[in-house]
C-alpha cells in the first residue's frame, strides 16, 4: 500500500528544510512508485520546503551552509521526480541568465540566488563565474531570456555591470531584458547609477525582485532584430 499523497508531500517538504537528503530521495521514489503527480510533488513538496528554508534564511536562523544543504536535498529529489513530469502539466518558465562578473571567481552569492530562483520556478541559465561580459548579452539573446542577473564581490569588477548594460544599449536591445545586480560592494545607489532595473541584497530578496521584474514583462516581445 503506497502512503497517502499528503504524507509524501510533507516528507518531501521536511526533507528539504530539515536538510535530510536521504529522506528526500526516499520520499521522491515513493511518489514515483505510487504514480502520484511528479509536478505536484515538486511544487508542493520540494519547492515548498525550499521556500520554508528561505523564510528561515530571511529570519537569520538559516545561513549559507543550511541553505546549501537544503538545496542538496531539493536537487536530489528533483533528479528523481523530473523525468516523471507529465508534459501537459509543465509550465512555460521565465528565463534568466545569471553569472559572476569577469575577473571575479567568488560565486557563493550567485549560487544561492540561482538556487532560490530555481525553486521559485525560473529557468536558470548559469554562466558560472569569471564570465566574459559579452557572454551575458550573447546568452540572453540565444535563450530569449527575460532577465539578466549579475553578481560580484569585488570593487575591481563591479564596473563590468555597467559595461554589460552599455552593450545591450549599443545593440539596441536594452529594453528586451530586465537587468538585476547584487553582491558585496553593490548598492541600490550603484544599481540606479548604472541603469540596472533591480538590486537585491540577498538571495530571497532577489527572488522577490525578479518576480516583480518578470511581472512587468521586461521581455523579449518587440525585440529589435
Amino acid at each position: 500500500m503506497p502512503r497517502e499523497r499528503g504524507d509524501l508531500l510533507k516528507d518531501l517538504m521536511d526533507a528539504v528544510f530539515l536538510m535530510n537528503e536521504d529522506l528526500a530521495v526516499k520520499a521522491a521514489k515513493e511518489v514515483v512508485a505510487a504514480g502520484y503527480d511528479a509536478y505536484d510533488a515538486i511544487n508542493n513538496g520540494l519547492v515548498a520546503g525550499m521556500n520554508k528554508a528561505g523564510v528561515l534564511y530571511e529570519k537569520e536562523e538559516y545561513f549559507v551552509p543550511e541553505l546549501l544543504i537544503c538545496s542538496d536535498a531539493m536537487y536530489a529529489g528533483l533528479e528523481i521526480l523530473r523525468p516523471h513530469i507529465k508534459t501537459d502539466t509543465a509550465v512555460e518558465k521565465h528565463k534568466v541568465v545569471i553569472g559572476v562578473m569577469e575577473g571575479d571567481t567568488h560565486d557563493i552569492g550567485k549560487n544561492l540566488v540561482k538556487i532560490m530562483m530555481d525553486a521559485a520556478g525560473f529557468e536558470m541559465f548559469d554562466l558560472g563565474r569569471n564570465v566574459p561580459l559579452a557572454s551575458f548579452v550573447e546568452k540572453a539573446k540565444e535563450v530569449n531570456a527575460e532577465l539578466i542577473c549579475m553578481s560580484t564581490l569585488m570593487t575591481t569588477t563591479m564596473d563590468g555591470m555597467a559595461t554589460v548594460i552599455e552593450m545591450l544599449k549599443e545593440e539596441g536591445i536594452r529594453n528586451s531584458f530586465k537587468v538585476m545586480v547584487g553582491g558585496g560592494p553593490i548598492s541600490q545607489g550603484f544599481a540606479k547609477k548604472i541603469g540596472a532595473d533591480g538590486y537585491a541584497d540577498n538571495a530571497t530578496n532577489a527572488v522577490d525582485i525578479a518576480k516583480k521584474l518578470a511581472a512587468k514583462g521586461g521581455s523579449s516581445q518587440g525585440r529589435a532584430k
Binding site: E60, V64, I69, T105, I108, T155, T156, G184, P185, F190
Partner: protein, 351 residues
C-alpha cells in the same frame, strides 16, 4: 567642507596609536584607511608586481604612508596567502589581486598531507616577510606597521572549496575541527614571524562574516580558535594588542567575539555606535566608511559619511576612523585624503 579650519597634527602617527594602547587621549582620532593592494597604485607599479615582489610590496606601503600619512601600514596580499603556502594554487593578474585557482584539499583525506608552512620558503610568505621588514626598517619609528594574516576559518576556506567547507560545518564537524587545528597552528606560526619582525599582526576572518555562517557556527568553529590567536599575541607580543578584522555583517557575533579577547576590532557593515555600546568598554573600534563609496563617491561625500560615523561614536574614546574593509585598488587618492582629513576635523578631543 572648507569652512572648518583643520588643526595641524602635533603627534606622529605612531605616538597617536600608542595613546590608544596606553589608554591616553590622542591629539585627535587616528585614521586607518585599510590600504592594502591600493599601495601599489601610489608607487605606480602593477598589482601583479606588488603581489610577487617583497621589495616592491614594502616600498609601495612606504610610499603610500608618505603620500597619505595614515596611522597604520598594513602589509597584505590576499586572505589566501597562508593557504597558498600550504599548497593552494593561485591565479595571478596584472591589475588585480590574485585569486584561488585550485584549493589544496580535493579529497578530505588530503588533510593528512597538510602541514604548517615554512615561512622562509613556502608560497609567497617570503614576499610578506620581506615587505614587512622593509616597512619596519624605513618608517617603523614613525608609524605602526602591521602585517595582515587570514584567520583559521578563512585559511581553511582557501584550502578546501568554501561551499563544501560550509556544508561540512554541519555534516563533517570533526573533520572541520581537525582542519581548523592545523590552520590555527599555521596562524600561530605566522603571528610569531610577524612579531619577530616588530610588526603588529592583524587577523582577518572574512569567512566568519555573519553574511555566511550562523552565530552557532561562529561560536563553535571561529571564536575558540580566534581566542587561541589573541592569547598567542598577548603572551608573545611584548604588549602588542590583539587586532581582529571581520568583513560584512558581524553584529550577532559580537558577544562571542568579546570572548575571544581581542583588543581592537575593525568592523565593516555594522552600526559602529551599537558596537561601542556592546564592546566599547573592552575594545578599540576601527571603522567603517563603506569601501565601495571610497571608490565611487566624491571627497565631499566621504567627508559627510565619516562625520556621521564620528558623531555616532559620541565621546570618541577608543575609536579609530577607517574604512570598513580594503580601500578599493582604484580609489581616487583625494578620497583617502578626505577620510584622513575627516579624522582631523571631526575626531577632535579639544572641543
Amino acid at each position: 567642507m572648507n569652512t572648518i579650519t583643520i588643526p595641524a597634527d602635533t603627534q606622529t602617527p605612531l605616538e597617536r596609536v600608542l595613546c590608544y594602547l596606553k589608554g591616553e587621549k590622542p591629539q585627535r582620532v587616528a585614521c586607518f584607511p585599510l590600504i592594502l593592494n591600493h599601495a601599489a597604485r601610489v608607487l605606480g607599479v602593477s598589482i601583479g608586481k606588488y603581489n610577487r615582489d617583497g621589495k616592491i610590496m614594502g616600498k609601495s606601503h612606504v610610499a603610500a604612508f608618505r603620500r597619505y600619512g595614515s596611522d597604520a601600514i598594513l602589509i597584505f596580499s590576499t586572505t589566501s596567502t597562508l593557504a597558498e603556502a600550504m599548497g593552494t594554487k593561485m591565479e595571478f593578474f596584472e591589475e588585480d589581486a590574485p585569486q584561488i585557482s585550485e584549493p589544496f584539499i580535493k579529497e578530505r583525506s588530503d588533510l593528512k598531507k597538510l602541514k604548517v608552512p615554512d615561512f622562509s620558503r613556502d608560497g609567497r610568505l617570503p614576499v610578506y616577510m620581506e615587505a614587512t621588514e622593509i616597512a619596519v626598517r624605513e618608517v617603523g619609528s614613525e608609524v605602526c606597521v602591521t602585517t595582515v594574516l587570514a584567520g583559521p576559518l578563512t585559511t581553511a576556506a582557501a584550502l578546501f572549496p568554501v561551499d563544501q567547507l560550509t556544508r561540512d560545518l554541519i555534516k563533517n564537524k570533526a573533520w572541520v575541527h581537525e582542519l581548523m587545528e592545523i590552520c590555527t597552528q599555521a596562524c600561530m606560526k605566522f603571528i610569531e614571524e610577524i612579531l619577530k619582525r616588530k610588526s603588529l599582526p592583524i587577523i582577518v576572518e572574512p569567512i566568519a562574516s555573519g553574511s555566511l555562517i550562523s552565530p552557532v557556527h561562529f561560536k563553535e568553529f571561529v571564536a575558540p580558535y580566534l581566542k587561541r590567536l589573541s592569547d598567542h599575541v598577548h603572551k608573545t607580543g611584548g604588549g602588542m594588542p590583539a587586532v581582529l578584522h571581520i568583513c560584512g555583517k558581524t553584529t550577532p557575533n559580537w558577544k562571542a567575539m568579546l570572548e575571544a579577547e581581542f583588543d581592537m576590532w575593525s568592523l565593516d557593515n555594522v552600526d559602529l555606535g551599537q558596537a561601542k555600546a556592546t564592546a566599547g568598554h573592552r575594545v578599540v573600534l576601527v571603522g567603517n566608511v563603506t569601501p565601495a563609496n571610497l571608490l565611487k563617491n566624491t571627497p565631499e561625500e566621504i567627508d559627510a559619511e565619516a562625520k556621521v560615523i564620528c558623531e555616532k561614536m559620541g565621546d570618541l574614546k577608543g575609536f579609530i576612523l577607517g574604512s570598513g574593509c580594503e580601500v578599493p585598488i582604484n580609489t581616487p587618492p583625494e578620497n583617502v585624503d578626505a577620510l584622513i582629513s575627516a579624522a582631523r576635523k571631526y575626531g577632535r578631543f579639544d572641543n
